[in-house]
Symmetry: C2
Subunit: 397 residues, 2 copies
């Protein structure tokens, strides 16, 4: 085979970044099969992840809490009772529904907890997420408030916790939460059609929004989004680039810092990709804008979903062009500082990392470089550059 | 250096796919500098790319036409005359403006054609794109119709041509068109705020849309998009994955075909990334959904902007898991067929490719495999897999 080893050359078994690696099979092709969804929703083994203002209900700082259907049925009844077509035709913009998302099935669950797909090919325990936030302007607000109070009585040890401050979720739960959070946020913040300004309706088990042709049985104005190829009713995921840049002599790495970060904290440069750009171009543009450094070769390392609110972090490694490595911060006010760091200093700092919202880690000496923890793709990129082989490990964290 | 050769191992100087590689510096940080934009707009050397229903004005099938300010000033006047803040405060939703985008500067232009940035650091010839489509429901419709007729009189050899059917743009022009098309399409198809349903206004030189606080001087209802971290007024770019999958024994590549494609045409599998997924996970999910094959290791190869309408194609190469390579099309109706092809058959087909809308290329034998042309990232991925070293070339096409 001409390419023997081609895949092994780079990252071995690959890097799986935090927030990726969901244990669930999304079964995307069953999202319009309301008969399956209806069965899955009400099955005694099915579990619901609750979100309040995007914070998940958690049983411990590292573990999400999952409730059965009977705990939430007062709020949602069964939205899959009629077909999606019938639901679209019955759409009434004054009646609001909490965002409910079918996350998928855990195929490793014991068969007693599993349900089968209609073709009997796949079996697993079903998971949904449900937004229980009692938004005062939505019609189900009182029901949500009442359910929240029941839940806090029935589960006194469970709490809605903020992801990057109070939680340190295990990998599986972090990945499940990432999908639930991104999709919920999109449903909640984009309830109007960008094409015509009318209210839209959550469809495809929470993964799309449709602009219905009727509102309360009355034909509303025609929406251009209903014609031709378009994506405006699909959830958005904003690609962003994050990159470890190596000096042309191969001895230093470029890191920057934002003003709001803790003292001495630095990370890789990052920014949103623009329309009409490749990832490689976005890497070069962002580095040049933020630091003045010109980047030549770029390779893509790995990626990380970043559900705050809905980014895809695309991790890259690039090489600076000789003679174009001087730092210049005058273009873009994004960074407070950017600096070339020798590999040795960075290696030392990698031994003592902690979260952005935590204090410095044990063993940290005041004044030393601080870097993002392993749950950040920035850490993986920095490792790949300064430690070489270490990034080849297949471990998730 | 511990990582000597790390970057050279994979793609040499890198693959630059068609639609990427723009010759322009976007100068993103000057998009709110209306004094600079105003000067750039009206400079005699500045050039405008015109779009009608997203088709660009072209002088030949491989070359875009660019017009000077004097040719378009009747339609746009100078939108940068007042500051962006003042423009936002003067917003009136009944007055429409054609989509005008500052694409950037060509720093290689002769100094006689160049203007300088306010800090005198960068000089180049400025490029804008302008949507001249006479949408009947917009207030400038008649002006646009009249300008279209003037242009066709003054430039009888120029024509608005459809990108993937009538054009075969050179690399630089393809990349410039990609940005203009994606951003114009987004401005035109998403004129309403997804957060509150009100009309938005194009800002940041065409690269963002704001939901103004006032409409015709009257305070409108509060829009939630004006608070906190959000992206709903940023243009959308939808990440999608496209992947060449190698059989576990390293001798075959997995290709699929859609019903609407020409006979014998096959390509790599592809699909949109979902919220909360990494690129690597999206590759595995899409391949499994569409073909039933389970993919293990995934590496990311290169990327391509795909402005139809606003995707980012992320090219990957993956390896099938031994024993899980049987084709099954029953999950997802996306593909008409999927098949493992031996490298030799694919190598032969690579010698005779043509566009999706063209007939079979010269030398093609009826019944033989047909593959996408070099302008498609699919072609580059297939090459990378079956030809090995060839993909290391730094050539753009």
């Amino acid at each position: 085979m001409a390419d023997e080893g081609f895949l092994t050359k780079k990252f071995g078994e690959g890097v799986e970044n935090y927030y990726s690696g969901s244990p669930l099979n999304r079964l995307a092709f069953l999202r319009t099969n309301y008969s399956y969804l209806s069965t899955a929703l009400q099955h005694p083994s099915t579990r619901f992840l609750l979100l309040k203002n995007l914070d998940p209900l958690a049983s411990t700082p590292s573990t999400l809490a999952f409730l059965p259907y009977t705990d939430v049925s007062n709020l949602i009844a069964n939205p899959y009772e009629v077909s999606e077509k019938a639901a679209l035709e019955a759409f009434t913009s004054t009646i609001d529904h909490p965002v409910l998302i079918f996350l998928g099935i855990d195929e490793s669950a014991p068969s007693s907890d599993s349900i089968s797909t209609p073709d009997n090919k796949y079996t697993g325990q079903a998971y949904f997420s449900l937004d229980i936030t009692p938004y005062p302007h939505l019609s189900y607000s009182l029901k949500a408030t009442s359910l929240l109070s029941t839940i806090s009585q029935n589960y006194p040890s469970h709490e809605f916790k903020t992801a990057r401050k109070d939680l340190n979720l295990n990998n599986d739960h972090a990945a499940m939460y990432a999908s639930a959070r991104s999709l919920t946020n999109w449903n909640v913040t984009a309830p109007y059609c960008a094409g015509c300004g009318q209210k839209t309706m959550s469809v495809h088990a929470g993964t799309k929004r449709a602009c219905p042709p009727l509102d309360g049985g009355v034909e509303t104005r025609k929406c251009p989004s209903r014609e031709g190829v378009h994506n405006i009713n699909f959830p958005r995921t904003d690609p962003s680039v994050i990159m470890a840049i190596i000096s042309s002599d191969g001895t230093k790495i470029l890191l920057g810092r934002q003003k709001r970060w803790p003292k001495y904290w630095h990370s890789t440069l990052a920014g949103f990709l623009e329309p009409g750009e490749s990832i490689e171009e976005a890497v070069r543009r962002e580095v040049w804008e933020e630091s003045g450094v010109t980047v030549g070769r770029v390779i893509i390392h790995s990626s990380q979903p970043w559900p705050f609110p809905a980014s895809l972090m695309i991790g890259a490694i690039g090489e600076a062009v000789p003679g174009k490595e001087e730092i210049y911060l005058g273009n873009d006010p994004e960074l407070e500082g950017a600096k070339w760091f020798g590999f040795e200093e960075v290696k030392e700092a990698l031994a003592f990392t902690s979260g952005l919202y935590d204090g410095p880690p044990e063993g940290y000496k005041e004044g030393g470089l601080r870097l993002p923890p392993k749950t950040a793709i920035a850490n993986q990129l920095i490792r790949a550059v300064v430690l070489g082989g270490v990034h080849l490990a297949s471990s998730k964290i």
